[in-house]
Symmetry: C2
Subunit: 261 residues, 2 copies
Amino acid sequence: MTTASLFEQCLNRLTRDRHRVWSLIVTLFGDMAYQDGDQVSTQVLAKITDPMGVKPEALRVALHRLRKDGWIDSTRQGRSSVYRLTGFGRKLTLEAAPRIYGQTSPDTGNWCLFTASTACEDSGRDLEDLSVEKEMVQLGPNLLLGRCPQDGAPSSLLVSRVDPSSVPEWVKSRACPDELCESYRALEQSLLEVSSLLPDDLNPLECAVLRCLIVHSWRRVLLRHPEVPDALYPSSCPAVACRELAMTLLERLPRPSLDKL
Amino acid sequence: MTTASLFEQCLNRLTRDRHRVWSLIVTLFGDMAYQDGDQVSTQVLAKITDPMGVKPEALRVALHRLRKDGWIDSTRQGRSSVYRLTGFGRKLTLEAAPRIYGQTSPDTGNWCLFTASTACEDSGRDLEDLSVEKEMVQLGPNLLLGRCPQDGAPSSLLVSRVDPSSVPEWVKSRACPDELCESYRALEQSLLEVSSLLPDDLNPLECAVLRCLIVHSWRRVLLRHPEVPDALYPSSCPAVACRELAMTLLERLPRPSLDKL
C-alpha cells in the first residue's frame, strides 16, 4: 500500500468518532503551539484540520468561541489572522501536559482515604470542599479517595493511608467506571490498528494531523477521570496499554515545526 | 479515723452501684483463683462477699448459675463445697486479664479502617463477619475501625491505615460514646475518693474485699467497649486516668492468699 493510502486509513480510524472542533483546536495548540511566542495562522490551522473533515466555517466558529472564552487571542496579518494561546489558555495547557504526555502514572505511595462523619454536617461540608479543590475519586457519600494532603486535611475528616496496589475491585470500578473502561478498550483497538498501519515516511503535515488526532483521542478519555496510579485501574481496563501505545505512536510522529507546514 | 471506719467508707463508695453477684464472683475468681488447681470454699466466698452486702441465698443462686453456665464447677467437701474455674471459665478469664490488668493501652501503630462497598452485598457481609470476629469500632454502616489484619482481610474490603493520634473527635466519640465517658467520670470520682481514704494497715480479708470491688468496677466499664489505644478516647473521657488509679490502688492492696482468709 502507498503511504498516502496508509495515511488515509489511519486518518479514517482516528476520525471514526466525531470530535468537537474547538476541542481539537485546544489539542492542536497544546501539542504544537504551547510556548510563549508560538502562533498559528488561519491557513495552517485549516491545513491541519481539513484532512480531519473540519469545514472552514466550523473552524471559524470554533476559533471565535475559543477567543470569546479567553483561551486564544488573534492578530490580523494582511488578509489573514494569527492565533496564539492567552496566558490563561497556556496556564491550563501546561497544567494538563504532564498528565497527557507523562510516560508513567502518578506515584502509588501517597494515597489516602478521606472519611466524613455521616452525623456531622460540618464534616460533610469539609469533604465536599475537598472534592471540589482536588481531583478525587468518590467512593461513597462520605468517602473520597485521593492524594494525601501535604499541608494537613480539615480536622473533621478521618484521613487514612491506602495502598493502591491492594484495593478491592469495587474501589477500582469507582476510580474508573465501566463506561470509561469501554472507552479505553475502543481507544486501544483504534491505536493498535494505527500502530500496525502507520508508515514511516509521512510528510510534516501528515505527521501533524495524525499527532493531533492521537493526542486528542488519548486525552479525551484520560481527562474524563481523576488522575490515579496504574494499580487503581480495573484489571479489565487497558488504560496503561493505551498510554504506552499513544506514547510510542507520538515518538514515531515527530512534532513538526509549524512554519514548515 | 480508725482503719475499720476507713475500710467501711471505701466499701460504701465501691458498693454505691449495685453489682450483680454472679459477675462479682467472676471477678473474684479472675483476680484471686485463676490458676490451675486454685479453689475457693463456700466459706471463703461468703467471707469476701458478705461485707459487699451479698446475702447467702444470693451467693448460692449465683454459684448455681455459674456452674450451670459452665464457668465454674464444684466438689463437696464434708458439709461444704469448693469451687474452681472450669477450663472454659479459665480460658475466658485469662483472655481478659491482659486488658484488665495491663498498665498501658494497646499499641497505636497498627490501626486500620475497613471499608465495605455500599453497592456490593458480599462486601457488606465480609465487614459484618469481621465485626463479629474481632473487637471493632463501628464508624458507619460500611466502616469499621480496628487492628490491622495480620493475615490479610477479605479482598472485598478496602483496608487503610489510621494514625490514632490524629483522628477527628467524631471518631473518638464512636470509639467511646458519651454514656461510656460518663461512666468513666463516675468511676474516676469513686477511685479518687478510695485513693484518699485507703488505710495502709488492712488485713488480708479487707484487702480481698476492696481488691475485688476495684477490679470489678474497673472491668465493668472497660469491657463495655472495644480495646482502643489511649489516643482514641475523647479528650473529655478519663479512661486513662481510671486505669492509672485502678492499677495504683491494686498495688496498695496486695492479692491475698485465699487459704489465709
